[in-house]
């Protein structure tokens, strides 16, 4: 996902548009992982503008101060994938068109509060639900989100037994035997 600055090749590869941006938080945990501050995500079906609208909608639904757009872009990527099915494509296209037409042709041009109110009013519609249900999975199921929110994901595979499973220091340690014993340490 994180890549070198947008190249011509990226544009040629995808028949759809692309999302691109620059990491906003230069010293954040994600920036520390990233090879570059620029990122790009090609889209197969949706246009760049549709991608930008969906990204903004997702930010209204799940507003995390300090979360990079690069992570929200995972949601757009999955919606783009879903739009490979014609029915879903129409749903997304129609939803965006309707938002735009209710906003003198450009929902993105509204101020943030206006944008939010228009989205809020859509709760329960298939368009809204498609974005919400996709986002609640995609946004929180990728390594960048894990880094941002402080979840170690697959790092746990080797076990935390000697690596922080009980490193909490702001409460007193529970006494044994209520607490148990490290392997081989039971009296």
């Amino acid at each position: 996902m994180l890549s070198r600055p947008l190249s011509r090749r990226v544009f040629l590869k995808a028949s759809g548009g692309a999302l691109a941006g620059t990491l906003a938080f230069a010293s954040g945990p994600i920036a520390l992982l990233a090879p570059s501050r620029s990122w790009a995500m090609p889209l197969d079906t949706l246009s760049s503008r549709q991608g930008e609208v969906l990204l903004e909608i997702t930010k209204h639904l799940f507003p995390h101060p300090g979360l990079e757009d690069a992570v929200y872009a995972f949601v757009v990527k999955d919606l783009d994938k879903a739009a490979g099915v014609e029915q879903t494509h129409e749903l997304i296209q129609g939803g965006i068109a309707s938002l735009d037409s209710d906003a003198s042709g450009d929902w993105l041009a509204l101020d943030k509060q206006e944008q939010f109110q228009r989205i809020e009013a859509l709760e329960g519609t298939p368009f809204f639900e498609k974005i919400r249900a996709t986002a609640v999975v995609s946004l929180y199921n990728n390594p960048l989100a894990f880094t941002h929110f402080g979840y170690q994901g697959e790092e746990g595979d080797v076990g935390y037994l000697y690596n922080g499973f009980s490193d909490l220091t702001w409460l007193p340690d529970p006494p044994q035997p209520a607490d148990g014993y490290m392997p081989g340490k039971a009296s």
Partner: protein
């Protein structure tokens, strides 16, 4: 090499075998117990083999790999019908069944819980009944099961070391005057029985890669295979149980991995498909002799479906917790598990730490939610502690598994519909649990408290319940059906009432006891 490569093979027309449907806590244990007696057993498991090496440290990927995702439908006022209308249960379709997924809590039922009707009195809108066996009948089998499963804090096995989530629970428990420890867990705290000690991976629900957590997948099933008396057939989805003119079970039909219909004859059939599939199979086995479904003269097949009163309390703190590190269920408080109607409900509940990874926290914290409150909870994910509330729910005739008249599965069989309405007692108990859980965390300085509704049910019980009298239930105290002498119920479907405790230990104990009884009946020629 697959675990099944060198196993015994039995002919499909061999009518001397015991056919067991399902390889989880009930079926897997029963298989090993019978095979150890020299009784030939064929286990038909709907799921495929996924070994420990296949398990994934990835919540959604593991969910896709292991879960029972065949279509089901729901109805009733319980919130799951809205949140997850086609996923009422979070159980496993894989060899080892839900023992692959379970968290390992192994608490005995309390003596009074076997006498729910006598102890609680009749409760309006509930179908309470005493079990046909008492605590003392089951106690020796609890002891055997604890030893077999390696339950901590029994048999001189030390308690597991507690993780950060436990540290928070413990501090709050102390403030509230509760007692709390790292629980009776079927998770090795020391190397035992050829299995490693727990490495505190935090992926109990995704399958235990080290095998520290007891699962029939790598204990009972290979042990049964090693006796030379058990054949495990994965990807074998049983369609019907067949019977003869005398109303005795003669075998089963099933779909193999290629989707081809097969038939296995049997001397005895034992059903352990978990409490949705077990009654579904009996209902799908209706015949002219048993028009309402097999073993259903009482009309109770599918009824009294229970799923425990559940709910979760998550709390956030100024300091980090990292609750996902280490065992999922790391601490248990049993103080509220007593029966004390002065609290406004009968029965009781356990408080058990629980954690979810970030992906599942997003999915389950408040299904359907969005907006700044929801996002704010996840912003504090690494500062969050959590507990699960699990308590006795009321059996109700109307809470039931039925066949869906329209929806069919991949084999053309009607799918199960799960109907559930929370009883007022369940609602009062959940409210009490939410309050106590919140008070516990607030006493440790919680910033925000979140009340999380029930997840898709992992505890499914009671849909073919035991009863002393044939008209009150489906099977007797040994799980033998009242109507068909050589047909047994061998999973949590047998439970007359749900009790407050996690069901696996009781399922295993009942299976050990049932195996002993079946062996005796076979020797006597009674079945």
């Amino acid at each position: 090499m697959a675990m099944t490569d060198n196993q015994a093979r039995f002919a499909q027309d061999d009518d001397s075998v015991v056919v067991i449907i399902g390889s989880g806590a009930g079926g897997g244990t029963l298989a090993n117990e019978l095979a150890s007696q020299g009784i030939d057993v064929v286990v038909l498991e709907a799921g495929a083999i996924h070994t420990r090496d296949d398990f994934l440290a990835d919540e959604w990927a593991a969910f896709s790999q292991l879960s029972w995702l065949d279509n089901r439908t729901t109805s009733g006022s319980f919130r799951l019908a809205k949140d997850f209308p086609n996923l009422p249960a979070w159980i496993v379709k894989s060899v080892g069944g839900t023992t692959v997924h379970w968290a390992g809590a192994s608490l005995r039922f309390q003596p009074h819980e076997f006498r729910a009707l006598s102890e609680y009195g009749a409760v309006e809108g509930a179908n309470l009944l005493d079990w046909p066996l008492g605590y003392d009948d089951l106690a020796p089998y609890y002891a055997k099961a604890e030893n077999r499963m390696g339950v901590t804090r029994t048999n001189d096995i030390p308690g597991l070391p507690g993780n950060n989530n436990f540290h928070v629970m413990y501090a709050g428990a102390k403030n509230l005057g509760y007692s709390c420890n790292t629980g009776h867990m079927a998770i090795n705290s020391e190397i035992r029985d050829g299995r490693a000690s727990c490495q505190q991976r935090g992926f109990c629900f995704q399958g235990c890669r080290t095998g520290a957590k007891w699962s029939t997948l790598y204990t009972e099933l290979p042990a049964a295979i090693a006796t030379g008396h058990m054949e495990l057939r994965p990807q074998s989805h049983v369609a019907t149980i067949e019977h003869d003119d005398q109303g005795r079970a003669t075998g089963v039909t099933y779909f193999d991995a290629n989707g081809d219909m097969q038939r296995q004859k049997a001397r005895i059939v034992a059903v352990a498909g978990n409490s949705i599939e077990t009654p579904r199979l009996l209902l799908n086995s209706a015949s002219s002799m048993f028009p309402d479904g097999l073993a259903n003269s009482s009309g109770q097949v599918g009824r009294n479906y229970m799923r425990h009163m559940t709910g979760s309390v998550y709390a956030t703190f100024d300091e980090p917790v990292h609750m996902y590190r280490g065992t999922t269920m790391a601490g248990i408080i049993s103080d509220e598990a007593r029966h004390d109607p002065s609290r406004g409900f009968v029965g009781g509940y356990e408080m058990e730490t629980l954690s979810l990874g970030l992906p599942f926290m997003a999915a389950f914290l408040d299904p359907g939610a969005w907006g700044s409150k929801f996002a704010g909870a996840l912003d504090q994910y690494d500062h969050m502690a959590g507990m699960w509330l699990v308590g006795e729910d009321m059996p109700r005739e109307t809470n039931r598994i039925t066949l869906n008249g329209e929806a069919k599965d991949a084999y053309g069989l009607p799918v199960a519909n799960v109907h559930y309405d929370d009883h007022p007692n369940d609602i009062a108990m959940r409210e009490h649990g939410f309050r106590q859980g919140a008070a516990l965390y607030e006493s440790v300085g919680a910033r925000d408290i979140y009340r999380t509704p029930p997840y898709p049910s992992t505890h499914n019980m009671g849909s073919c319940r035991m009863s002393a009298r044939a008209q009150d239930g489906v099977c007797n105290g040994y799980g033998q059906t009242h109507d068909v002498a050589n047909l047994f119920i061998s999973d949590g479907s047998q439970f007359t009432t749900s009790a407050a405790e996690n069901p696996t230990l009781t399922i295993v104990s009942l299976a050990i006891r049932q195996a002993e009884h079946i062996g005796k009946l076979m020797k006597e020629g009674a079945v």
